[in-house]
């Protein structure tokens, strides 16, 4: 399942991270997160993990493998 498949408010865990930059920001395998909002036309996607709020463009988000939980 991809990050883009989750709806606003849903929670999940990261299974695979495509960009080194995301790891620099603290998003690693196993990090629990929640979808907070989506921009106009569903882009970008705002997620929160721990105390971070991060905007990710849809194209990148489509490459992030996640598993839903909660």
């Amino acid at each position: 399942m991809k990050l883009t498949d989750l709806n606003v408010g849903e929670k999940g865990k990261i299974l695979q991270v495509p960009l080194p930059r995301l790891q620099e920001l603290g998003l690693i395998i196993g990090t629990p997160f929640q979808i907070i909002s989506r921009g106009p036309f569903g882009n970008p996607i705002e997620i929160s993990f721990y105390e971070n709020y991060l905007l990710i463009d849809r194209k990148t988000a489509m490459e992030i493998e996640v598993s839903p939980c909660g």
């Binding site: 960009l19 080194p20 930059r21 620099e24 920001l25 603290g26 921009g39 970008p44 105390e51």
Partner: protein
């Protein structure tokens, strides 16, 4: 002795730097990129404020240069600035820094927002001295310096965390600290964002805010400061005109008009910098990018491009400067390239006078059409230049009330850095043009402008402008004056052809078209050189615009 301030972006590093050094600094440039570092002194100790980084193996080019600098010139001690309200992410860099094995202390900001953490707990966790550097509470620079000097003298090295990848570091951190709960500031921010990030209401709010700020700055505040200054300049000009020695007279008149052209946009620049600093510090800038990302992506730009583009309606110089915040180089250059297509406020008087001349009834319709034509051509151009869209990743900071002293510090520092860089070149060109304007080819003083070197040059190139009906040397002189400052086009026309009889139905529209598209002023080109770190870039911008202007004028003259 050299100390370095190192930390993630937005950890209050610069505030700490200013507090340590009293704000006296000079700016160093890394070769090849626009990021800068600041050097200041505490007594004889050199303090360097490195740009924000997330790791020591960074992904962006700008950050890579900063890390390279750190590794090439290792400091005697590191002050690692962290934001405790975002502890987990900040510790990623802290763990990486311990591997440099340089004496280090932690300057912990935003401790006051946290209930779970205090300096003692952090010291126990990291095995490093932790110095609370609150935003609100006063802390004493001498104590912070004494703490780090103590570490250096005792040759105490930070405890080594051996993880070698950021992923490994973060999983170590997840074992070290308990999962963090949302704090109050965050919850409040989320509530505000439900309105400000709403696709409809948020966008409307943004447009309203920008329009209001724009009108306030360009219509009321900036003229309030620049009008009396310009009146003073006029007074000096009158005095200079009375000077006996012709060469000195012309040179000084040139100098004064150069200073005048800087002063005409200086208040606007300062106010815009203050406004931008406010948007950055309160956290709204990141929201703007969120809202604008979609539409900007169509044109190969990023959400952040919206800010320079809007400022471009006022003055292209600060607009080009504000493009610095765009992380991806190709998007930054694309934004810079688009800027000259956005008509700055100095073009408006020319549009106004000439459109009335063109058609007194429809002038209010012609002006918006001119703006639209400019933007339209520019956007079509950027459609052709899209090659790949770099990933857009951006942190959304919580909303915070900015401190006025931080804003003022940054606003003034950016303005003066900018002035230092363009002032000399601008003054030199102004003096040169004044000399060309007031001397005949045989180096005699002339009041009659049609005898001057400039007029002779204009007449010389006039055959080139015949096909687009702009062969009259007075028009060429007026356009040339506009290269130094767009507002001078009108004043030059007024000198050379007071009743504007130089215009006739055949050359009016070509002139407007040429004026709309031809290269931006020298100040803008100099700024672009600085912001793109390449002389070729402004040159290619100038040539492109010359070609577009020529074509447009030609088409309008058929």
């Amino acid at each position: 002795m050299r100390l370095m301030l190192i930390g993630n972006p937005n950890t209050g590093k610069t505030t700490i730097f200013n507090h340590l050094t009293g704000g006296h600094r000079h700016i160093g440039n890394f070769a090849g990129v626009t990021v800068e570092y600041a050097i200041g002194y505490y007594g004889t100790i050199e303090i360097i404020d490195l740009p924000g980084i997330y790791s020591l193996e960074p992904y962006s080019k700008d950050e890579a240069v900063a890390v390279e600098f750190l590794k090439k010139h290792p400091p005697d001690g590191i002050i690692n600035c962290i934001d405790v309200s975002n502890l987990r992410r900040n510790l990623g860099l802290t763990l990486a820094l311990t591997q440099l094995q340089i004496p280090m202390i932690i300057a912990a900001g935003m401790l006051e927002e946290q209930q779970e953490w205090d300096a003692e707990k952090l010291e126990a966790l990291l095995g490093l001295p932790v110095f609370p550097a609150h935003r609100k509470n006063r802390w004493v620079p001498a104590v912070m310096i004494r703490t780090i000097l103590g570490e250096i003298k005792a040759h105490r090295l930070p405890p080594l965390f051996e993880e070698t990848t950021m992923a490994a570091r973060f999983s170590r951190i997840d074992q070290m600290i308990p999962p963090i709960s949302k704090n109050q500031a965050r919850e409040k921010s989320e509530k505000i964002d439900r309105f400000l990030l709403h696709p409809l209401w948020g966008t409307l709010f943004f447009i309203a805010l920008m329009t209001a700020a724009f009108i306030l700055i360009f219509q009321y505040l900036a003229p309030y400061f620049s009008t009396p200054l310009l009146r003073g300049i006029e007074g000096f000009m009158k005095m200079a005109e009375a000077l006996p020695q012709p060469a000195i007279r012309a040179a000084i008149m040139g100098l004064i008009s150069g200073v005048g052209s800087v002063i005409s946009f200086l208040p606007a620049i300062l106010l815009l910098f203050l406004f931008l600093a406010f948007l950055e510090d309160c956290g709204y800038m990141a929201r703007i990018c969120y809202l604008a990302e979609n539409i900007m992506a169509v044109f190969g730009l990023t959400g952040r491009s919206i800010v320079p583009l809007l400022i471009g309606f006022g003055c292209t110089v600060p607009a080009a400067l504000s493009a610095r915040g765009i992380p991806a180089e190709n998007q930054r250059k694309r934004t810079l390239r688009l800027l000259p297509f956005i008509s700055c406020s100095a073009k408006l008087p020319v549009f106004g006078v000439l459109s009335t001349l063109l058609s007194p009834q429809k002038s209010l319709l012609i002006i918006p059409l001119l703006y639209l034509a400019g933007i339209g051509i520019g956007l079509i151009g950027s459609l052709f230049s899209i090659k790949g869209h770099p990933p857009f990743l951006m942190e959304l900071p919580p909303y915070r009330m900015p401190r006025f002293s931080d804003l003022a510090h940054r606003g003034f520092a950016r303005t003066s850095d900018f002035l230092k860089k363009i002032f000399t070149a601008l003054l030199l060109t102004s003096v040169m043009i004044a000399l060309l304007q007031h001397f005949t080819p045989s180096f005699h003083w002339t009041e009659l402008s049609d005898n001057s070197i400039l007029a002779h040059l204009a007449k010389g190139i006039s055959p080139l402008f015949e096909p687009i009906h702009l062969g009259d040397w007075r028009l060429i002189c007026a356009l040339a004056a506009g290269l130094f400052a767009k507002e001078s086009t009108l004043s030059t026309l007024a000198v050379l052809s007071a009743d504007l009889s130089v215009f006739h139905p055949g050359n009016l529209l070509p002139f407007l078209a040429f004026f709309l598209f031809y290269p931006p002023c020298i100040a803008t080109l100099l700024t672009m050189k600085k912001e793109s770190t390449s002389s070729l870039f402004p040159l290619s911008v100038a040539i492109t615009h010359l070609l577009i202007a020529y074509t447009a004028a030609f088409l309008c003259g058929i």
